[in-house]
């Protein structure tokens, strides 16, 4: 059955087969989201447990697999030493090293797990149309390896009819139903700015070497300065403190002034769950605004003293021939990226700036709405200071938007549009 959709004179048809067997894969640094057409994907952690062949478990339990992935992994976790040795997280900031064989084996197992989980019994099934999403800065070898992995799984299990790879920001734009936009994706260690106009404009992609980890680092420094230095070794705790007390200031100078005047109102207190420990920044509670500010403007001179004391300064990055400072104001970075696109396109790009990723998920407590803002408002204000009127929004569904974009891509791209390394688009096929 073919469903016909008319658009004025444009007609598109969606094959029944594609509706049924479109498949999306989002390779995030910490999670792998996958599945056929549905409202939501399945999720497993992007990690694998390498079985130690000399272990008692291996010998006694008669395990035949070398790598365990999916929910089963938690059953194999033993001591911290075991976890460090045998638990492999294959991606770092969305990238897998070319020669990291163990990491690629984990990616193979995870991909196989996802595809086989949904393998139907339908005799008409000839394999999924798979769209996989990778980081916008994923190098070419990752594309090649991913194609090889899908081909190998198909040869073994007959589950992949065609595969394609798209950058995650493009998938976000598709899920947001926006054809012309700038997607700013910020994760733990990396922020990518990708202008999109029907295609990702690859020459204008800026990847900054910073993300949520900078906010974690300043939180750790603040904890040290306020007498809680013994707690900063627990990364998870530092992250919890960041999420609990960190605020994005509308204007940093103004926020610090107000917080110093009215110390009780802005007092930052955090009780560590399930422990008697209470963190109280007391008179230094104004520092809570530094945690949010550093995400957007790590170049502010207030952070200089922290860099001098050893807090890592984000590394510089390259855009074509130009070196971009790692500490560049996020609004300046967005402008630099947009400036690499044709002049007449730029106003259209500013009409829709989409923020995605965990580093933009900042809460604004009701009582601080006069002084704190969310990430979208902050970027809008920073752009306004630079005479740019922009419409900035957070993704509606940050968890699943990349996977959703993959599904739409799998459904819509014509079967005969084959992969081209020049365009970096199309279906990669081998049968």
């Amino acid at each position: 059955m073919i469903v016909v959709v008319s658009l004025g004179e444009v007609m598109i048809s969606i094959e029944e087969y594609r509706r049924k067997y479109a498949f999306g894969e989002d390779y995030g640094t910490s999670e792998y989201k996958f599945g056929p057409v549905a409202e939501r994907p399945d999720i497993i952690e992007n990690r694998g447990f390498i079985i130690d062949k000399s272990s008692i478990v291996y010998r006694i339990a008669g395990i035949t697999k070398n790598i365990i992935v999916g929910p089963e992994v938690s059953m194999y976790l033993g001591s911290r030493e075991d976890m460090a040795r045998f638990l492999i997280y294959p991606m770092r900031d969305g990238i897998v090293s070319m020669d990291d064989e163990r990491a690629w084996n984990v990616i193979y197992e995870i991909t196989k797990y996802g595809l086989l989980k949904f393998k139907p019994k339908d005799p008409k099934f000839k394999g999924f149309y798979v769209t996989a999403a990778l980081s916008a800065i994923a190098p070419k070898y990752m594309y090649e390896k991913m194609f090889d992995i899908h081909k190998r799984i198909d040869e073994e299990h007959g589950v992949v009819r065609a595969v394609t790879i798209i950058p995650q920001p493009l998938a976000v734009a598709i899920a947001q139903k926006t054809i012309t936009c700038i997607v700013v994706e910020s994760g733990h260690g990396n922020t990518q700015i990708t202008p999109i106009s029907r295609y990702p404009i690859r020459g204008a992609v800026i990847s900054l070497n910073r993300g949520g980890s900078e906010a974690n680092a300043i939180t750790a420094e603040i904890l040290k300065d306020t007498g809680y230095g013994d707690l900063v070794h627990e990364e998870k705790l530092v992250r919890m403190v960041k999420e609990a007390i960190g605020l994005i200031p509308r204007d940093l100078g103004e926020a610090i002034r107000k917080a110093r005047e009215d110390r009780e109102r802005f007092r930052a207190i955090f009780k560590v769950p399930n422990t008697p420990t209470i963190i109280d920044l007391g008179d230094n509670s104004w520092m809570r605004f530094l945690i949010g500010e550093i995400v957007f403007d790590p170049e502010n001179e207030i952070f200089e003293s922290y860099y001098k004391r050893g807090m890592p300064r984000p590394k510089d990055t390259r855009l074509g021939d130009e070196i971009i400072r790692g500490t560049i104001n996020l609004a300046d970075a967005i402008i630099k990226s947009a400036q690499k696109t044709p002049l007449e396109l730029q106003p259209h790009l500013y009409k829709r700036i989409i923020l995605s990723g965990g580093n933009f998920a900042w809460k604004v407590p009701e009582e601080f709405k006069d002084i704190a803002v969310d990430a979208a408002s902050k970027i809008k204000m920073l752009l306004k200071e630079r005479n740019i009127d922009a419409v900035v929004e957070l993704t509606k569904d940050p968890m699943y938007s990349v996977w959703k974009g993959c599904i739409v891509y799998s459904i819509a791209v014509p079967d005969d549009y084959l992969w081209s390394w020049r365009r970096m688009e199309g279906w990669y096929k081998w049968r």
Binding site: V3, V5, L7, G8, I14, E39, A173, A412, P414
Partner: protein
């Protein structure tokens, strides 16, 4: 260098000899056959009979060792009716808080002795004295029957363990089936909805407002909300057609 079982037993023997204690053979004490494998050394101190059981494993992680030692203490508790004192003997490297919980030893009454690589022996937790049941008057027949019963119990325990593992694997299969069932149900519902909408209209329409770059594409109820009204459906379907 780690200690193996033989070395530990030899060090223990030296220790016992220095204190002029008498070593006993397994046949010299009343002990059901099924429990004999738990005892590595038997010593007589005056009227008291003391059992030593040695545990030395290849390198394991701390949580694994901890579990193993718990099991061993549980097994040794069966010996308390046959000896006045029972000790578990471990290499000294196992004696650390991440592996051992002294309270369990105290609760059960089993003592703990550590043996260093150089043969130093230390009583870490003293054993609680037990009243030994006198089996002298017990007839050989009764002894045989008890021994048979104990063997039977240990077989039953083994079977229960096997069943426990089976049941937990069945539970996880049921969970996965339930997940699949939910998905299948959702799929059936969406197919039903699709059939319904196809009957009403075989041709669906899309409206474009170019000014807003928004497209309304009605493709029926069969596809999720993020696919419906998505302008990328049209954009992507044009790929490779003259661009």
């Amino acid at each position: 260098m780690s200690l193996n079982r033989v070395k530990i037993i030899n060090y223990l023997k030296e220790y016992v000899a220095k204190r002029n204690l008498k070593l006993l053979l397994i046949e010299e004490v009343s002990l059901p056959f099924s429990l004999t494998e738990l005892v590595d050394l038997i010593v007589k101190d005056g009227d008291n009979v003391i059992f030593f059981s040695v545990l030395s494993q290849r390198v394991l992680s701390d949580p694994q060792l901890r579990k193993l030692i718990y099991l061993e203490v549980a097994k040794l508790s069966k010996l308390t009716s046959y000896a006045n004192k029972v000790y578990l003997v471990l290499p000294k490297e196992y004696v650390k808080p991440t592996i051992l919980d002294g309270k369990i030893f105290e609760d059960v009454g089993i003592g703990l002795i550590s043996v260093g690589v150089n043969g130093t022996i230390e009583e870490v937790i003293p054993a609680r004295p037990f009243e030994r049941v006198s089996f002298v008057s017990m007839s050989k027949d009764v002894e045989k029957r008890i021994s048979a019963l104990e063997e039977r119990i240990s077989r039953i325990e083994k079977t229960v363990d096997e069943w426990r593992e089976e049941v937990s694997s069945v539970i996880s299969s049921i969970r996965s089936l339930a997940d699949q069932l939910t998905r299948t149900r959702e799929e059936i519902n969406s197919i039903r909805a699709m059939i319904g909408s196809a009957a009403v209209s075989t041709r669906t329409e899309a409206i474009v407002s170019e000014a807003e770059e928004r497209v309304s594409v009605d493709v029926g109820e069969g596809l999720p909300s993020f696919v419906r009204d998505n302008p990328w459906l049209i954009e992507l379907s044009k790929r490779g057609k003259g661009d």
